[in-house]
Symmetry: C2
Subunit: 465 residues, 2 copies
């Protein structure tokens, strides 16, 4: 009996409530042991009812007490959550908890219905993403978190010191590009012998692996020391990134992104966690999301040039924008919102931006995209009500053009010697993208702030536990 | 046609070579487009053969050139890897590359058979782990990487500063416990208003979530600024950690660990990547691993007290150990090796260590474990040839005992107020474990050093890219 349970990989644990609800036992089955907390109690004269939850689903099991005195052992203060096991109450009112109060108690907030549902939805989304990429032949890679790349000295990176080091003044200056080849001695107080940063993107690392294993992806933490306080930014966030070799069209990239997003939406359309998150809200988002899953045509694509033309026409007619749109200028949030929310009324891939607006590694378009200036083979996916969810591009695989771009962006060639090696030896046309995972959760769940889209959010001035 | 491909979640990408090998097309099928690099070429007078690889599997496709001149376009220098697309050679000799040479070229080393196979084996292992925990009702949680917990001031943590901050001398002292309640002002130069560290374990965070969602796990990066240079330690490593409520026996914990490991071993027994890693080695590890998968009995368990008795008897008879074993002393590596390699000749769970050897959060055993001193409800899993792979315990859920342990370990109660809250409100008996993911890969693959068990290893003095 002891030995038998080890032969099954679904080992020794009793069923969760979610498992019981999805495949209920036969009426003739033996008694089943269930663990959980008492979430609420309702007493009548002869009988009492309690909802038992183990957090595996929003729905609990209803326990019926034919002996009302037994239920009395569960009683806590009115209007509070109860716990059967300890008969103590949570410090959380059942209602009227503000988002801010819960952020201050993030060690307890997973106990609320909304955060609980979000965490399960996040788990499901992770599974769907993994299935999608594995089905399409991608290999998951654990890319490094600590990196020598300081994100082009942009100053929004976190630097790392070993606690036993005293960071010297000289090693804490970051205005210069500080990546040092491994043979050069750095400050002796530095654990790695040269400056170390938290990664802002796994892209360059994935490119290295994609030059051997042609399709790779990762879902990995990334970090930006941004000072801005918005509902779209976290200091620590998770990013889905994929890179693959042997692709030479932006449309290929968009197709993979759209396929992955349709998979995610499809998996959630009828999930109880989505229902829990949308309950009581005036407009269920199911019809909108279902239409995207079932759309017989690809989601909208338009070039940056087309987008700017539409924006200019609208601005000329209405003067709607604070920033005048013009070819060669970055799209502002108000522009992106108008494109997705009003002009397209749905997700839209905006492609082929001016080279001057984008990083050095994006592939130059051959056709020079008409008369207005050089463009690169890239896209941003804009989502109504959210803004940019995904950004991607073909990567410049032509060594000479890459070198020229590194020079044009005034980067230190020595820092990118390894990156140029990838082109020198066995290079191939390739591309990829990055998707902010909390923004994806925000879109799917309808939870507006990304701070409620992760278990324990970190942002400027705020990092609990 | 364009629209159709969007309706399938396996979207627009051609099959990988792995997909083709596992479900070969019918002879009558239309021509199939395949992408890859030329790994080797063999020419005869009338015909030439090339092995095409896309990195999705070690085995490539053999291309037959009936026109030998076509094959000539692939030729590079003899004894090198070739690439079809660019006709350039890799800077890697096919043979006789030292491990150290490859570590110095870690942007290219995924192109070697061994690292390629390891990365695919890592991917498969991740999938198996995810399947195992999901089947058993666990929810995957992304736990935070940046934390205010400095690991009890142990001095082996990495500290974080925003690049725009100048770390002040006072904020770089770490001998005191520096976690500051959120309302207290820290150094104004600190991005988060109080000191921030890279996590050494997700356990405490998982415990918070497990008090709401009763079964949770994570596979997450962890960090230790260790100065030791061993084949078992990395500065950045991945850890599988699980926590679950409503368990009150160490045997339950061991059963879940053993179940997950049997799943991993079973998945690899006949995998081509394992075969690639073991090829040419004198002793295939398959028989040893297969025996563990099929063992009708649970793997060995013994208490610390039993282990010390066996060690003492052996030491008295042979004087084999540099450190004399004795109850109350930590097990040394030589002791752990003897237990797993010689005494048990297999994996062994050693349970119920003396309280004085273990962290504050482990649950005190009620029975006082006989006469030799108080013990805690914990285990270490020792593996032959590897040492400790997993450590876990029940967590002290009794508030008074937890408070006493915090005092006994001379920790600041204020830092753990939130952790005690988990016990004050709706606490439940619970436990969990942590498994070093690179050590798992090392064990399964037979690759001795963990530096070859991750794409881009980081250790003291070494951090490339």
């Amino acid at each position: 009996m002891l030995a038998r349970r080890f032969l099954s990989s679904a080992a020794s644990l009793p069923p969760t409530i979610r498992q019981l609800l999805s495949s209920p036992p036969a009426p003739s089955a033996e008694a089943i042991h269930v663990n959980g907390w008492v979430k609420s109690i309702r007493k009548q004269k002869q009988v009492a009812f309690a909802v038992i939850s183990d957090g595996s689903s929003e729905a609990g099991l209803q326990a019926v007490f034919k002996d009302v005195t037994l239920a009395k052992r569960c009683v806590g203060a009115p209007g509070k959550f109860y716990t059967y096991l300890r008969r103590q109450t949570y410090p959380m009112q059942k209602q009227a908890l503000t988002v801010e109060y819960l952020r201050d108690h993030c060690h307890l907030r997973a106990r609320t219905n909304e955060i609980g549902a979000m965490l399960r939805l996040r788990d499901t989304t992770t599974q769907v993403i993994n299935n999608y990429f594995q089905t399409n032949g991608f290999v998951h890679i654990h890319t490094p978190i600590i990196t020598s790349n300081d994100c082009e000295g942009a100053g929004e990176t976190f630097r790392i010191v070993a606690s036993s080091d005293s960071p010297s003044p000289s090693s804490s200056t970051t205005t210069q590009t500080t990546s040092v080849p491994p043979t050069t001695e750095g400050s002796p107080s530095e654990y790695f012998n040269h400056p170390a940063y938290l990664t802002v993107s796994s892209q360059l690392h994935l490119e290295a692996v994609a030059s051997a294993i042609s399709r790779v992806y990762t879902l990995s933490p990334c970090f930006r020391a941004e000072r801005s306080q918005t509902s779209r930014h976290l200091a620590e966030f998770w990013m889905l990134e994929a890179e693959w070799a042997f692709t030479s069209s932006v449309e290929d990239l968009c197709a993979v992104v759209e396929g992955s997003l349709r998979s995610v939406l499809r998996a959630h359309l009828d999930s109880p966690d989505m229902a829990a998150l949308h309950r009581g809200k005036p407009h269920g988002r199911r019809p909108e999301l279902a239409a995207l899953v079932d759309a017989p045509q690809p989601w909208a694509r338009m070039s940056y040039t087309e987008a700017v033309a539409a924006l200019e026409a609208h601005h000329t007619a209405t003067g709607a924008f604070a920033f005048a749109p013009a070819w060669g200028r970055a799209l502002q949030s108000e522009h992106e919102r108008w494109l997705a929310d009003v002009h397209v009324r749905g997700p839209v891939f905006v492609t082929d931006y001016p080279a001057g607006l984008k990083p050095f590694y994006m592939r130059a378009n051959d056709d020079a995209a008409g008369v207005q200036g050089p463009t690169v083979a890239c896209f941003d996916l804009l989502i109504p009500g959210l803004g940019e969810l995904v950004g991607g591009s073909l990567r410049e695989e032509r060594l000479k053009l890459l070198e020229a771009a590194i020079e044009r962006h005034e980067l230190d060639k020595a820092d990118y010697a390894w990156y140029m090696d990838l082109r020198k030896y066995g290079g191939a046309p390739h591309g990829g993208f990055g998707m902010g995972f909390e923004r994806l959760i925000s879109w799917v769940s309808g939870i507006e702030s990304v701070r409620e889209c992760v278990a324990m959010p970190r942002w400027a001035g705020r990092m609990l536990l």
